[in-house]
């Protein structure tokens, strides 16, 4: 509680107090169906066992929500307040005591308000006996939406006060994601109410929650598998990189820079994720190029150029079999294209180059320049930015360059660690990713000659 800013602490205390008072008031009213309260509170508790940690916020909405809606329909405002309060108090999930109390309080208030709204609607009947379909549907929808809106508003105020973010932004961001699911969850609450009212008993709750528990299990599996996926890709990439200790961590840093650029461009979460994988995997085809070529001293002959130009194609071919990374595969294929059309492998120019490829090109060059290579020391971030700007418009997309520059100005950049045992070799031809290297210059000339002839 001490960690909260003062206004936030006051607000939390106020909401908690009001909620608790409401609960005490509800508990002392005559005619409270305590069996109903107990069964629904237990259902809340069952629904909260091992909640899914999902990246989809709409599902973070708890399974307690439909139970609260059912309480509104079956018992009106007071029973709803009690169920919501008790249900969230007995939750298993570990959390600080003040959060638990605040949650209980705000949910009690929300359920009470939803109950008051519901009983004043014409289709409402006591204890949900003889509901009139379909008229009752819109009343249920309204009760569900009220519960969601009040609940989310009370929470958003707390977040706004403790984080100093704009309230409207938090509120709308959350509301736009939870409103539609709340209608669906409202229907589930309706199901519980119908069955309970017709005399099926506690089995009804289990029946209704069974599909949702299955869904939650699947989401958990999904999350676990997803984490396993990330770990696996990361370590396989690491294994590939061990071939050359100069490029260690390169893929990971390129991925980071790609995401920084993508965020600046306002990309959606799923595309950002794909962009990250594209960054991680952009050089996976490089393994097909003999290391001696990538670090060769002296000029390259035509065959050797061809061997280098083929690596983005190899990488793309490999990744192409992964359906989920379709867009990433194109980004990998074209990450050595240049805006002026002098890049490889296809000589695309301008907008014809996929967006991912234009992003990777900038991120790749930036990390290459700020890392130590066998033939030169690492450049400073400022020098690398100057270099990027120098090639901006010919080699790089200026939009991406500026996005990266802004992102670095704001978030900073952790450059590659210096290799501990570098033996500087003179006269090495250079890293093909580094736009200032001789190999890059040679590649430009080569592709021009190739295209003309």
């Amino acid at each position: 509680m001490r960690s909260l800013p003062r206004p936030a602490a006051l607000y939390v205390a106020a909401v908690t107090t009001v909620g608790m008072l409401l609960g005490v008031f509800a508990a002392t009213r005559r005619g409270v169906d305590w069996l109903l309260v107990a069964v629904l509170a237990v259902l809340c508790w069952v629904g909260e066992i091992s909640p899914a940690r999902t990246r989809l916020r709409s599902l973070a909405m708890s399974l307690a929500f439909p139970v609260d809606v059912a309480a509104v329909l079956l018992g009106g405002p007071w029973v709803a307040t009690l169920v919501a309060l008790l249900g969230s108090l007995i939750q298993l999930a570990p959390m600080p005591w003040y959060k638990r109390l605040f949650n209980a309080g705000q949910l009690g208030i929300s359920a009470g308000i939803a109950g008051i709204v519901y009983i004043h609607l014409p289709p409402a009947t006591a204890a949900f006996s003889t509901p009139d379909f379909p008229a009752v549907l819109w009343a249920v929808a309204l009760a569900g939406v009220t519960l969601a809106v009040v609940n989310y508003t009370l929470v958003a105020v707390a977040i706004a006060l403790s984080s100093r973010l704009a309230f409207a932004q938090i509120w709308w961001g959350g509301m736009s994601e939870t409103l539609l699911p709340s209608l669906g969850y409202g229907l589930i609450g309706l199901g519980i109410a119908v069955l309970w009212a017709s005399g099926v008993g506690p089995v009804a709750g289990i029946l209704v929650l069974a599909p949702m528990l299955a869904a939650r299990w699947a989401f958990q599996q999904y999350g676990a598998q997803h984490r396993a996926y990330e770990a696996t890709v990361a370590s396989l990439i690491q294994a590939v990189e061990t071939k050359d200790h100069y490029t260690r961590g390169h893929s990971e840093r390129v991925a980071t820079a790609c995401v920084m650029i993508g965020k600046r461009l306002g990309m959606r979460q799923d595309r950002l994720e794909m962009l990250r994988y594209a960054g991680m995997l952009h050089d996976v085809g490089k393994l097909g190029v003999p290391t001696r070529l990538l670090q060769k001293t002296g000029p390259l002959d035509a065959d050797e150029f061809a061997a280098i130009t083929v690596h983005p194609i190899r990488g793309c071919d490999m990744v192409a079999a992964i359906e989920f990374l379709a867009e990433a595969a194109q980004g990998i294929r074209h990450h050595h294209e240049r805006l002026d059309g002098l890049g490889y492998p296809d000589g695309l120019a301008g907008e014809a180059i996929p967006e991912f490829a234009r992003i990777i090109a900038v991120a790749d060059a930036f990390d290459s320049m700020t890392s130590t290579r066998s033939y030169r020391a690492a450049r400073s971030v400022d020098a690398a930015i100057a270099e990027l700007r120098r090639w901006s418009g010919t080699q790089f997309d200026p939009v991406m360059v500026e996005a990266l520059v802004e992102a670095i100005a704001e978030e900073g950049w952790t450059t590659a660690p210096r290799p501990s045992h570098v033996v500087p070799r003179a006269l090495v031809f250079g890293d093909h990713d580094d736009p200032t290297s001789r190999v890059a210059a040679a590649m430009r000339e080569y592709t021009v000659v190739e295209r003309v002839s």
Binding site: V200, A214, A239, L287
Partner: protein
Amino acid sequence: MIMANLSPPRSRFPGSIRRRRAPFGSPFILAVTGSCAVALLVCVLLTARDGVSRPDLAVTFAATIAIGQLLPVRLPGGRPVVPLAGAAASGYALLFDVGGRPVVQPLAQVVAVVGLGYGAGALLGVVVGRSPRVATLARRVLAALVVAAFFRAFAPGELFTSSFHDLRPVLPAVALFLIAAASVGMATEALLAVAERLARWRVPVTSLVRYVRDEFKATIGVAGAVTATAVLFALGVPVMRLYALPTFAVPLLLTQFAFRRFAAVRTTYRQTIRALAQVTELNGYVVRGHGRRVATLAVEIGRELGLSESQLADLEYAALLHDIGQLSLAEPIPAGSTLLIPPAERQRVAELGADVIRTTGVLDRVATIVARQADPYRRHREPPDPTVPIESRIIKAASAFDDVLTAARGLRSNGQETDPPSLQPEGEADAVADALERLRLGMAYEYDPRVVEALTAVLGRRLGVSLIAAG
């Protein structure tokens, strides 16, 4: 067995090759599909004769089934399921009251409506380019038939006559009965699926228990949701009438969405391992396609040996990644064949590969398999080493077989280095037989005879010939 193999092989294989009928088009699958078709035909005719009762319900449920059939989910192990359709089919079979009046539908009509619903969905699926297997559809219709028959045979009489209001005191018991009936249908479908797998892969019936366990483990979550929803349909319709269908479909669709995400990430994982496992082939460490061929072969051998599904999954990943340790070698091995390097070096490649895989933190079992892949299954004057996992022995044999076969094909097709083309059928059988022979020579210590035996069976089936074991 070992004694026999210490003696030099007696037969040359080409002489012992016999043509055999392909194992597919299993009589069991034909029987299931055929009996379902006959039952459906009879039921449709009966319904046509007696007239359709409550056509509104029939059409609504058939439509829900058809829509559900268009929304399939793939469970682990490549099991297609259609939760919404299954719930609607069982729900229709269990329907006993609408709006407070009893309406148990005739059994024949239930089967006809469910069958036509699935049929319509399947036809629409064909239009959008997704054709389901007929055997799978038959299984689903039969499951609904079992639910309907169970319900009509064991339901207490008052369910057929009393109004919903009068049932109120017994409703909790009715709910439990409906759950039991729907579960029987789910179990039927699962068991039919197991039987079909056994028939399709010609697995010995001794693996039945393991297959049943695998099936239930993979489907129990969705099956629970479908059972619950079917019962909710039957219990909701008396009060909510047909509004019960969309209401209770919502949580099930959420489930379906979750399982879809799960299936998608599993597919991606598999595709990624397959793709990234190619890195060793890309830079010439390993002959192109080696990993995939070994993986396919290893999984077939594993299935032949009765491994469980989770074991097969690990085996596949381990086989795909078994050469990843070569990345850490300074110089590529000639032609990438680990057969040609000394055992100590082979062990090192295995260990390095296992280290790479272990860093993922999630594939420990796979790492262990890869680590032990170079170990002989027994050492001189010692009994077989039980600590070498069966999966490692499989990969050892499958990888060696592929190396030898690739080399043989390369020789026969005038020394082309990469991507050896398949040979003419007779030549291919010869090459396979030669390669097997090489493995048999190593059975004393290197290759587990059980694995080589399974490999022989798998290859025989592939070629459509029987390769009679030597000795």
